[in-house]
C-alpha cells in the first residue's frame, strides 16, 4: 500500500471525501500536511465486507492549522477493519477534531487506533478525539484505543471512547408507535451514524 501525500496550502480549505476521492478500493494510506492557517476537512464513509487497512496521518505544521475528521464506518460479514488516525500538532494555535463512529455487524472485527500527539512547540493547541461504536453482530469484535500524547503544558486535550448498545427503552418507544422492531433498529443505527459528538 503506497502512501499518498497531500498538502493543504497556506490559508486554504480542502475537503477530502473518502474513500471516493482517493481510491476505489477499501485500503488506503494518506499523509496530509496542513500549512499556516489552512483547514483540512475529512469526511469518510465506509461500508465493507472486505479486509481493509486505513492509515491517515495529519501533520498540523503551520500556525493556526486545523483538521476536522468525521469518519463513519460499518463492517459486514467477516470484514476485518484496521483503522489508524494520527494527528500531530506541531505549530502553535493548531486545532484538531476527530469524531469517529463505527458499527460492527455479523462477525466483523475492527481495530481502531487514534493517536493525537501534541509536540512541545504546539502552544495553545486544542485537540478533541472521540470514537464511538455499536456492536450488532453476535460474533463481532471491537478493539478501540484513542491515545493522547502531550509534550507541552499549554494545550487543552480531550478524548473519549464508548461502546454502546441500542437502548431497550428507545426500541420500545419506536415499537409503541407502530414501527417494526427490525426497522426501528435500523433507524436507531442510522441515527447513531448521523449524530455528531460534542
Amino acid at each position: 500500500m503506497n502512501t499518498q501525500e497531500i498538502y493543504v496550502p497556506e490559508g486554504a480549505t480542502k475537503t477530502l471525501r473518502l474513500p471516493s476521492d482517493f481510491t476505489s478500493g477499501d485500503s488506503y494510506a494518506i499523509l496530509a500536511h496542513v500549512l499556516k492557517g489552512a483547514s483540512l476537512i475529512i469526511i469518510e464513509t465506509l461500508q465493507t465486507i472486505l479486509p481493509c487497512s486505513i492509515r491517515l496521518t495529519v501533520r498540523l505544521e503551520g500556525e493556526g492549522a486545523s483538521v476536522v475528521d468525521r469518519s463513519r464506518y460499518q463492517g459486514l460479514g467477516n470484514a476485518v477493519l484496521d483503522i489508524e488516525r494520527v494527528i500531530v500538532h506541531i505549530a502553535p494555535g493548531t486545532t484538531s477534531r476527530v469524531d469517529a463512529r463505527g458499527i460492527m455487524h455479523d462477525a466483523s472485527r475492527a481495530l481502531w487506533r487514534g493517536r493525537v500527539l501534541v509536540e512541545q512547540g504546539a502552544k495553545r493547541a486544542q485537540a478533541f478525539l472521540r470514537h464511538d461504536a455499536i456492536l450488532t453482530g453476535k460474533e463481532a469484535y471491537m478493539d478501540a484505543a484513542p491515545f493522547l500524547e502531550i509534550f507541552t503544558d499549554d494545550a487543552i486535550c480531550k478524548h473519549g471512547a464508548s461502546v454502546r448498545r441500542i437502548q431497550p427503552a428507545e426500541l420500545f418507544y419506536m415499537k409503541s408507535r407502530g414501527v417494526l422492531e427490525e426497522e426501528a433498529r435500523n433507524m436507531l443505527l442510522e441515527g447513531f451514524l448521523a449524530g455528531t459528538s460534542r
Partner: protein
C-alpha cells in the same frame, strides 16, 4: 523542617544482616531461598519452574524505558538480623527506629486492626488485634502461612489469579519471592478496622519481592493498606511485588496502597483481584515515588454481578516516569467497573495512564466507565493516555473520557487575589485535585499522602 521529613523515607539505615546474597539470580539462589525458609517441595518446584520461564522471557518491549535496570546487579535476597516478633518491643532497636520514624506503631495503636512490617526480604513484626484473631481472621507473614495453611496457600498462590507465567517480572517474583502478607477472612466476618503492612527496602541494589495474598470468603469484608518506602542510593533497586486478592461471593475487599519508593527504584508490581458473584473490589492506589513505575491493578470479574472500583493517582516529578493505570476484565454477565485515574506531572516528569477494559462474549449487560484527568504543571513535563477497550458483547456499555491540561491562569489568579502566593495557590489546587483519593484513605494515611504530595511538589513552581 520539610527537608527533614523527606529524609524520613530516603535515609538508609546501618543494619546487621543475617544473610546477603550475591548479585544476580541463579538456580542455586532460588534453591537457597527455599531451603532457608524450609519450604515444602511444591513451592520449591514452583519457584524453579518460574525461574526457567523467567530466563526465557523477554523484557517487555512496550511502556517506559527499562534499559537502566541491570537484573544482574540486584541483590535478590537480604535477610535482616531479626526474628519475626509479635510485640513491638521485641523488634531489634535499629529496625524499630526506622519504623518508629515512619510512624507505623503509632498508627497501629490508634486506628488499625493489625500491622505487619517487612524489612528487605523478611517480615520483622506481625500482630493482629485479639478480637479479630478470635473470630478466625488470619493475618500472617506469607512465609509462615505456607507452613501453617498449606492447603489454602497451595490452592491460591500464583494459580488462578496471577499465574507464574503471566509476564517476566511475575516469573521473577515467583522464583525469588520472600515475605509479604497472608490474610484470610472467614465467611460473614466483617473486619471493621483496616489491616496494614509496611514494606521497607533498605539494602543497596536491593530487590523486594513480597507476596500479598488475601482471601475474603463468602460475605466477608476486609480493608487492607500497604505503605512502601526505600532509602535513596545512586544505584538501581527493584521492587517486583505481587498482590493476589480473592473476593468471594458477596464479599468486599478494599485494598489501598501508597507507594513512595525512592527515585532509584524500578517499581514493576503486579496486582490483581479475582471477583466472584456479587463481590466488590475497591482499589485505591497512590504512586508518588520511584523512578520508573509500571503498575496496573486489575480486576477479573468472573462472577455474575461482580463490581470493581479503581481510584488511582500518580505524581511524576523530575526524573520520574509513572506508567500506571487499571484493568477490568468482564467475564460474567451484569458486572460493572469504574476506573478513575488522575495524574500530575511536573519538573520534566512523565505520567502515563495505560488501561484496559475487556468485555467477553458472555458478559451481557456489562457497564464500565473510565475517567482520566491529567494536570501538566510545566512545559517540560509530559502526560500520555493509552486506554484500550476490547469488546465482544453486543449488550454492554463502555465509556472512556480523558482530559489533560494545565491549571488555568484564572484559577491561580483567583486564589492569588485572595492573598495566597503562587506556590501556595498551586498547592491548594493540586490538593483539591487529589482530594478524591485522600478522602478514601484512613485519616493518618490521608495526612501522610497529602504531605508526600506537598514534598514532591516543593519548588515545582517559580
Amino acid at each position: 523542617m520539610i527537608q527533614q521529613d523527606k529524609s524520613l523515607y530516603e535515609k538508609a539505615d546501618k543494619v546487621q544482616e543475617r544473610y546477603h546474597a550475591d548479585f544476580g539470580v541463579t538456580e542455586d539462589l532460588v534453591r537457597e531461598i527455599s531451603r532457608q525458609k524450609n519450604e515444602p517441595t511444591w513451592m520449591l518446584e514452583k519457584r524453579l519452574h518460574a525461574f526457567q520461564l523467567f530466563l526465557e522471557a523477554p523484557i517487555p518491549a512496550w511502556g517506559p524505558d527499562l534499559s537502566g535496570l541491570d537484573l544482574d546487579k540486584i541483590t535478590y535476597f537480604v535477610r535482616p538480623d531479626a526474628e519475626e516478633a509479635t510485640k513491638w518491643e521485641d523488634v531489634p532497636e535499629h529496625i524499630k527506629q526506622t519504623f518508629d520514624r515512619l510512624g507505623i506503631p503509632e498508627a497501629e495503636r490508634t486506628s488499625l486492626g493489625g500491622v505487619g512490617a517487612q524489612y528487605d526480604s523478611d517480615v520483622v513484626y506481625h500482630n493482629i488485634k485479639e478480637e479479630w484473631a478470635q473470630q478466625g481472621v488470619v493475618f500472617e507473614n506469607m512465609d509462615t502461612a505456607v507452613e501453617n495453611y498449606p492447603e489454602l496457600v497451595q490452592k491460591h498462590f500464583m494459580t488462578r489469579c496471577v499465574p507464574i507465567n503471566d509476564h517476566k517480572f511475575a516469573m521473577l517474583h515467583a522464583a525469588v519471592w520472600s515475605g509479604g502478607t497472608f490474610i484470610y477472612v472467614p465467611p460473614g466476618i466483617k473486619v471493621l478496622f483496616p489491616l496494614q503492612a509496611y514494606f521497607r527496602m533498605n539494602a543497596e541494589r536491593g530487590g523486594q519481592f513480597e507476596h500479598t495474598l488475601i482471601i475474603a470468603d463468602t460475605g466477608s469484608e476486609v480493608s487492607y493498606i500497604e505503605g512502601c518506602s526505600a532509602p535513596r542510593y545512586m544505584t538501581s533497586a527493584l521492587h517486583a511485588g505481587c498482590v493476589e486478592l480473592f473476593v468471594g461471593e458477596g464479599a468486599t475487599i478494599r485494598y489501598s496502597s501508597i507507594e513512595n519508593w525512592s527515585l532509584n527504584t524500578y517499581n514493576l508490581n503486579t496486582k490483581r483481584a479475582l471477583v466472584e458473584k456479587n463481590g466488590t473490589m475497591e482499589w485505591v492506589n497512590g504512586n508518588v515515588g520511584s523512578g520508573t513505575t509500571m503498575l496496573y491493578p486489575s480486576s477479573m470479574l468472573v462472577g455474575e454481578g461482580a463490581r470493581s472500583e479503581s481510584l488511582g493517582i500518580a505524581v511524576a516529578g523530575p526524573g520520574q516516569h509513572q506508567d500506571t493505570g487499571a484493568k477490568a476484565i468482564h467475564v460474567a454477565p451484569r458486572t460493572s467497573s469504574v476506573i478513575r485515574a488522575k495524574s500530575i506531572s511536573h519538573g520534566g516528569g512523565i505520567a502515563s495512564y495505560r488501561g484496559l477494559v475487556r468485555v467477553g462474549r458472555r458478559a451481557d449487560e456489562t457497564v464500565s466507565h473510565v475517567t482520566c484527568d491529567a494536570l501538566i504543571l510545566d512545559g517540560d513535563s509530559q502526560s500520555h493516555t493509552y486506554p484500550f477497550t476490547k469488546t465482544e458483547n453486543t449488550n454492554s456499555e463502555l465509556s472512556h473520557e480523558a482530559r489533560a491540561g494545565r491549571i488555568g491562569d484564572d484559577e491561580i489568579f483567583y486564589a492569588m487575589s485572595r492573598g495566597l502566593s503562587e506556590e501556595r495557590a498551586i498547592q491548594m489546587i493540586v490538593g483539591g485535585f487529589v482530594e478524591e483519593v485522600s478522602k478514601k484513605l484512613p485519616l493518618e494515611y490521608a495526612v501522610e499522602f497529602n504531605r508526600l504530595i506537598d514534598l514532591q511538589m516543593e519548588g515545582a513552581v517559580g
